[in-house]
Symmetry: C2
Subunit: 141 residues, 2 copies
Amino acid sequence: MESEELRNVGLKVTTPRLKILSLLENAKAKHMTAETIYRQLSEGGEVIGLATVYRALAQFEAAGLITRHQFEGGQTVFELERGPHHDHIVCARCGRVEEFYDKVIEDRQREIAEKLGFTLSDHALTLYGECSNGTCTAKNG
Amino acid sequence: MESEELRNVGLKVTTPRLKILSLLENAKAKHMTAETIYRQLSEGGEVIGLATVYRALAQFEAAGLITRHQFEGGQTVFELERGPHHDHIVCARCGRVEEFYDKVIEDRQREIAEKLGFTLSDHALTLYGECSNGTCTAKNG
DNA sequence: ATGTATGCAAAACATTTGCACCTGG
DNA sequence: CCAGGTGCAAATGTTTTGCATACAT
């Protein structure tokens, strides 16, 4: 139940928040922009302001329910925080996003930060490439 | 000579382009926003439009002279492309940017992309943390 | 000369904010 | 009931674009 998740993080359970959270949990695309969320809800007949979407997403992020990513040359996308940390690889042609986790890289990052005199608090790693012809659903062509 | 660099990449040698390129090569900060570049040139008495700065930066990037980075919670910064590839670590308190290169991570990325069926073309890795009290020049304090 | 670059102002975007009204606990 | 949430519209900050003029080759 999404209501639970909201209550657990101390947010009032309101219709817009439930709809947004539910969409993030059920949508095919795991990474969505505020605009996309707004549009999909609107198409579903919901009356929700774009500003409300932005506000809800900001709160969800602060509460740790979702994560914000800024892939190159695109808008900010949001992703439901399910389970363990992972990084992303994005297809430059079709925009598909795959996730991965690599312990070697994770460990290495911590060592590097330490060596440079930093206390590591976060990181963003995104690979860009082209996925194989079989899986690529490029828009052009 | 900066004129050479421009000619080499097929760009007309104009005053604005020379000034911008020169600033990027000589400025203390290696990572600058378009706005910063514009302001510093203006303060130096140059009459250059902000739009021209954006246009020049876009062309320099296309030509491979500079690189564009989008660190979290900040504007886009540009950096002169000098020598070998590297990634960044950013201090969340004072905004300082350090660079690093790690062969282990680089190799690993390629393997991961391959395993997932992608042809790796680029990547963005940025670490976030807090630099040690000795070096941190946090604004608030 | 002549095609490209520039400066300015206006447009385009993504995101945020002010405010009167609505709603959940 | 009442603090907090919402929708709308206006404001913001950044980047892009249209256009007449200026410049490099």
